[in-house]
């Protein structure tokens, strides 16, 4: 009896409270108010993200200023010693330039070839659907497995050298020569990822209104002029996506080098990714690896962000 009566009063009270000035608890409500959905919806995502991504990265960044090897219990703060060591480290310098060479080559190859392929498979050639499939397929294949396949093709008695001999040329040491090894790695990665640029450009091309191109043709533009002055400017958003993806991919390169060269010959194809892996997990110099990773991320940021800015501005100018 009493309980029911109490509940009734409570209901009446709170109803009255809501009609009049907001009750005290609504201050909390206002602070916590999300404007819609309950916070419980975002909680799991934030928890996983902090535990798996953010916290380990911050811890790793902290270790860059210590002498920790990844195993010992004792961790000594040693300031900028790791960074000072890096300045004199010839291998780090060579890894940075190799990474940059690979990244920029990939951008150029993927944008140019991707665009050409997209224009071809978007024209009225009869085989366009088949061509799309063929050029895109390598994108979904496992990079490490594809790289082992190419290792055979590049090997001394492999397919490429057999073909060279057939046309009467000298066989080459594709993976044994420093310059050729770098080129081989770029070939494999381009083969695997040019299809991705193709479909991104293709989606961009399909969004170009046909009236614009017809108008250009009526005004007397030849096909090349039409592509250069009408189609390309309209592809600016697709261009941004392609360049940024190619850059990030080029800067974070690992599987292909693991399978094809292991960073060799010497350190000719050692990139920052493979180097960080080697220093941290094989040499056990984790704190030094962390310092290299920090400098690496700085380089990525310094390159990717301005590139994005420039490309975005072009989008707006034409948009």
């Amino acid at each position: 009896m009493d309980g029911t009566a109490g509940a009734n009063t409570l209901t009446v009270d709170s109803a009255a409270g809501e009609l009049a000035t907001p009750p005290p608890q609504s201050l909390w409500r206002r602070v916590l108010a999300s404007g819609g959905v309950s916070y419980l919806f975002i909680l799991p995502a934030v928890a996983i993200y902090v535990a798996v991504i953010l916290a380990p990265i911050l811890m790793g960044a902290g270790y860059a200023f210590t002498d920790w090897d990844g195993l010992r219990q004792i961790v000594n703060y040693n300031g900028l010693a790791n960074f000072r060591r890096m300045i004199g480290d010839q291998q780090v310098r060579s890894a940075i330039s190799t990474t940059l060479i690979i990244a920029f080559s990939l951008v150029v190859v993927k944008v140019v070839l991707g665009l050409v392929l997209a224009l071809v498979v978007n024209s009225n050639v009869k085989s366009r659907n088949w061509l799309r499939l063929v050029f895109f397929m390598p994108v979904v294949l496992t990079p490490i497995i594809v790289s082992y396949m190419w290792k055979y093709i590049f090997s001394n008695n492999g397919t490429l050298n057999t073909l060279l001999k057939m046309v009467g040329l000298e066989p080459l040491r594709w993976l044994g020569d420093p310059t050729l090894a770098l080129i081989s790695v770029i070939i494999v990665t381009s083969w695997q990822s040019v299809g991705l640029s193709m479909v991104i450009f293709l989606a961009g091309l399909q969004a170009v209104p046909p009236e614009l191109e017809e108008a250009a043709t009526i005004d007397g533009a030849n096909p090349l002029q039409r592509i250069w002055h009408v189609t390309l400017p309209l592809l600016a958003p697709a261009m941004t996506v392609c360049v940024v993806i190619a850059l990030i991919q080029g800067l974070r390169f690992f599987d292909q080098i693991y399978a094809l060269t292991r960073g060799g010959p010497g350190y000719a194809t050692e990139t920052l990714s493979t180097m960080i892996y080697r220093i941290s997990f094989q040499f056990g110099e984790f704190s030094y690896g962390a310092a290299v990773a920090m400098v690496f991320s700085l380089i990525v940021g310094v390159i990717v962000l301005p590139v994005m800015q420039v490309l975005r501005r072009r989008e707006i100018a034409h948009g």
Binding site: A33, S34, G35, G36, V37, F41, I42, P44, A45, I48, Y49, A51, V52, I53, P56, I57, G60, A61, Y63, A64, V120, V121, S123, N124, V125, S127, V134, F135, F136, V140, L141, T142, P143, I144, I145, V146, Y148, M149, W150, Y152, I153, T162, L196, A203, T231, I245, F254, D255, Y258, Y277, S280, F281, F286, G289, A290, A293, F296, S297, V300, G301
Partner: protein, 276 residues
């Protein structure tokens, strides 16, 4: 592009493109044909078609590389990761798409941090965490890693899509007395099915193909995923390319099969999904 008549120029482009495509696909042909030949055959005639297909390589690779176990391990890792990513990602995106703009922007930048920060920095602390929790050498360590690593991207894909859905749907459900959870499960989730498809395809390909993380977490354990098992096998068996290629063919067969079934969806998913 304006589709004009089929001219002589178009024909020339067609021929050139077909030749390029044949050269482009040639390595895959080579992979299959060498896998189907005995050592004596492929060393003399690597490029000819396999007139008398030999399946011994596949049998040997399957047993020696423990590919049966590896396939099960990969399937377990991919399935668990996808279930968690879709659930957690879609929930979070529903919140982000419907919360106050300023809070939404703050959280957006918060999740974006992951794409700028170098994940290599976190690899060893995370490795230690897994070791302390006793998860190293089990598929759960990988599932946890992928759920964290692929989450921001999944959330962005979903958020963009849910933002475009009119709020009138949620409001109608709320007026009818539905809770947030009911609204999400019965109204929102069915409407975002297309983007769920994209999320599944992109994450599935990424998780299946990843090599560096399982190399760290699972090397030498009986839970090695397909890429790790194949790489470990190839590195010791590098002398007979027939057997190596058989292992490689088995290793890419599942993704190839997926691609054969979902070709159009995959191309659209990759073209549209990576813009997020």
């Amino acid at each position: 592009m304006a589709k004009g008549r089929y001219t002589a120029g178009t024909f020339a482009v067609e021929v050139a493109a077909t030749v390029a495509a044949i050269c482009f696909i040639f390595p895959v042909y080579l992979l299959v044909t060498i896998a189907l030949k005995e050592r004596s055959t492929w060393s003399r005639n690597p490029m000819s078609p396999p007139f008398n297909p030999y399946f011994g390589n596949f049998k040997q690779a399957w047993h020696e590389a423990y590919l049966g176990d590896a396939l099960i391990s990969s399937i377990v890792v991919v399935t668990l990761s996808l279930v968690i990513l879709v659930t957690v990602g879609a929930f979070a995106a529903y919140f982000l798409a419907r919360c106050k703009p300023r809070l939404g922007y703050t959280l957006y930048v918060f999740f974006l941090l992951a794409m700028v920060l170098p994940f290599q920095l976190g690899l060893l602390p995370l490795y230690q965490m897994m070791r302390d929790l006793g998860l190293l050498g089990t598929p759960f360590s990988l599932v946890i890693f992928y759920c964290g690593y692929q989450l921001p991207f999944t959330v962005f894909l979903y958020t963009g899509y849910i933002r475009a859905l009119p709020r009138a749907y949620d409001e109608a459900a709320k007026i009818d007395g539905a809770t947030d959870m009911q609204t999400f499960l019965h109204v929102i989730f069915p409407m975002i099915r297309p983007v769920t498809g994209t999320v599944i395809i992109l994450n599935c390909v990424f998780v299946w193909n990843d090599f560096m993380t399982p190399l760290l977490y699972l090397q030498g354990s009986r839970w090695a995923t397909v890429p790790v098992a194949v790489a470990a096998f190839v590195d010791q068996e590098i002398t007979d390319w027939g057997i190596v290629f058989a292992a490689l063919v088995i290793g890419i067969a599942p993704v190839m099969a997926l691609f054969a079934v979902l070709q159009r969806h995959m191309m659209e998913g990759f073209a549209g999904g990576l813009k997020a």
